[in-house]
Structure formats: C-alpha cells, structure tokens
C-alpha cells in the first residue's frame, strides 16, 4: 500500500475537522473591542423616574452586571426569569440599559414581569447602545470595580451561562483591588 493513496484521506479528514469546528461556531458572536476598556460614558435618566439621573459613575465600586434590554425584545422576555432569580439571590447587582424603548412600555414591562434591575438607564434613541457596541439585544456586560468592561455575553442568558460564565468572573473580579 503506497502512502500517497492516504493523502486524499488525510486532506478529507482535515477538511472535515475544520468544517465541524465551523459548524459549532456562532457567527453572531462578534468579539467586542471594548473588553478591557472603561465602559463608554453615558448620562441618562432612570427608566422608572425621569427626574433621576443615571450615569456610568453609578456602575463603579463593585463588580456588576449591565444588561441591555427592551420591552420589544422577545429574547429579553426569555431570559427575564433567570435575571429575576439572580437578583433574588443577591450575589451581584444588575443594572439595565433600556435600549430604544419608550418609557411607558418599559415601565409597563417591568411592572408586569418583575424588575431585577437595581436601576435601568433609559436610552430611547440608542446612542448609548451604539457606544457600547450593542448589535443584538439582549446583551450582558460584566464590569469590574473600576467600571472596566471585562466580559460580554451576546444573546439571552441561560442558567448555565450565569453559573459557568458570569458568576466565576464576578467572583474573581471581587478579589481584585
């Protein structure tokens, strides 16, 4: 048996391996250039109270989650019970950015489904969303004590994402100065 006849088989196996990896990749997962950088500044108002200001300054001091959501977003509804559960456990403070929504709809949404957020910044025209590189709600950012973005999850959260991805990072960030 000549070894040359094995070359097509080897090429085929290598191609299969690459294609198999390619199938598993999610093209929607675009690496964010903001990781390791300070969270883009905003100064907006609290979605529940138009007279209450909310800015990036409020996010500093502890490792926190920032969840970008909207009342029109179907997947946000899907991840909502998981956020509520996480908020109830009290392990981490969750902030929200209410993206391209109306105040009325957003408040109604939080009232009927529950509010897991310490507070949500109201971003009706989506400028803050663009500054944060948001391209598909829901998106969740992990910020460290200095307000630097350390991790980003695109798409709805699941229990597994919380346990295996987000909480370990938050615990690690808590240990940092």
């Amino acid at each position: 048996m000549k070894i040359r006849f094995l070359i097509p088989l080897a090429v085929f196996l290598v191609m299969t391996a690459f294609l198999a990896i390619g199938l598993k990749l999610d093209p929607r997962e675009v690496p964010s250039p903001l990781i390791g950088k300070e969270a883009p500044k905003f100064s907006l108002t609290d979605v529940m109270d138009a007279s209450k200001a909310m800015s990036t300054y409020d996010l500093k001091g502890d490792a926190v989650l920032v969840n970008v959501w909207a009342s029109w977003c179907v997947s946000c509804r899907q991840e909502h019970p998981i956020l509520l559960d996480l908020a109830k456990r009290g392990e981490v403070t969750i902030y929200g950015i209410n993206y391209k929504d109306t105040r009325e709809e957003a408040q109604k949404w939080l009232r009927s489904y529950g509010n897991p957020y310490h507070s949500s910044a109201f971003d009706p025209n989506g400028h803050t969303g663009i500054d944060w590189g948001v391209y598909g709600v829901p998106e969740t950012f992990v910020l460290d004590k200095q307000g630097v973005i350390r991790h980003k999850h695109t798409g709805p959260l699941t229990q597994a994402v919380i346990e295996d991805e987000l909480l370990p990072i938050i615990r690690k960030l808590r240990g940092e100065p």
Partner: protein, 151 residues
C-alpha cells in the same frame, strides 16, 4: 393578467426601494464619501449585507451616525474608527493586516502555493516509464534471462 404582472414586479421592486433612505448632502464629495463608506462596512445584524443595503434597525441608526459625521465634515477614516472602536474590525470587509488577520490575507497565496506544488511535483513513476534505461540491477538480470529464453 396585466395586474398580476404589475403586482409581481411591484413586490420585487418594493424591498429595493424601502431599504435605504434618501440622504441630502451639501457637497457632492461628501455624498461619494458616504456612499463609498457604506459599501465597505458590514451590517452586524444581517451579516451578509453591507451597512448600505441592510434594512435592520441598527443599520439605520448607524447610517444616521455616519451621515451626521460626514455631513459635519469628518473624514472617512474618522467614521471607520467610530465603527471599529465599538464593533471591532469585524465590520470591515477589508480588515487591517494584524496578528489575528494575517491568515485571512495570506491564506489564498498559501493555498495557491500548496496546490501548485502538488500539481508540478516531479512525477517519479511516469519518468521511469518514459525512461526504460533506468532499470535496477535485479530487473536487468531478469530482462537478460527473459531475452535468452526467447532466443
């Protein structure tokens, strides 16, 4: 029948009309800058469409941002870096040559070289067939023996 035909044509043309809004510029040069830019940038929501073609909500917002940047006299580079600062090099159809993108740029050349070297590799078997003088000692002995048998 004619109405049917009109409806079909209408339904084919309608999405083309709806996708991109009309922009007015105070300067023709700005308009070309804007239109060129939109072809160079990928929409993040519909990744197979350029920012100029996409009907996604985010694409519209980004077009608004770019329009106001260009209209206020900013360069194409400034608009590009506005986008890449937020969304990364992924949005560019022609990403810069970097440590993570070198394979993307060099890959095709490597494939041509690999393919070429396989195609033009000296073919040992055929050369031997074309050149019967190249017999091993054993083969020559065998040939002599066979020749003697014929005689």
């Amino acid at each position: 029948m004619r109405i049917m035909l009109l409806l079909i044509i209408g339904s084919l043309v309608a999405p083309l009309l709806g996708a991109v809004e009309v922009r007015e510029f105070d300067d023709l040069e700005k308009q070309t800058r804007y239109e060129h830019l939109l072809k160079e940038v990928r929409c993040l929501v519909c990744q197979n469409q350029s920012l100029g073609d996409s009907d996604a909500e985010l694409a519209k917002d980004l077009r608004d941002e770019i329009y106001s940047m260009i209209q206020s006299g900013q360069s194409e580079e400034e608009a590009i870096s506005f986008l890449t600062d937020r969304y990364g090099d992924f949005v560019l159809y022609r990403p810069p040559f970097k440590s993570v993108t070198w394979l993307l740029w060099v890959g095709p050349v490597l494939f041509i070289l690999a393919g070429g070297s396989i195609a033009f590799w000296p073919k040992r078997d055929k050369q031997r067939q074309a050149n019967p003088k190249e017999l091993t000692d054993e083969e020559r002995l065998e040939l002599d023996r066979l020749k003697r048998r014929i005689d």
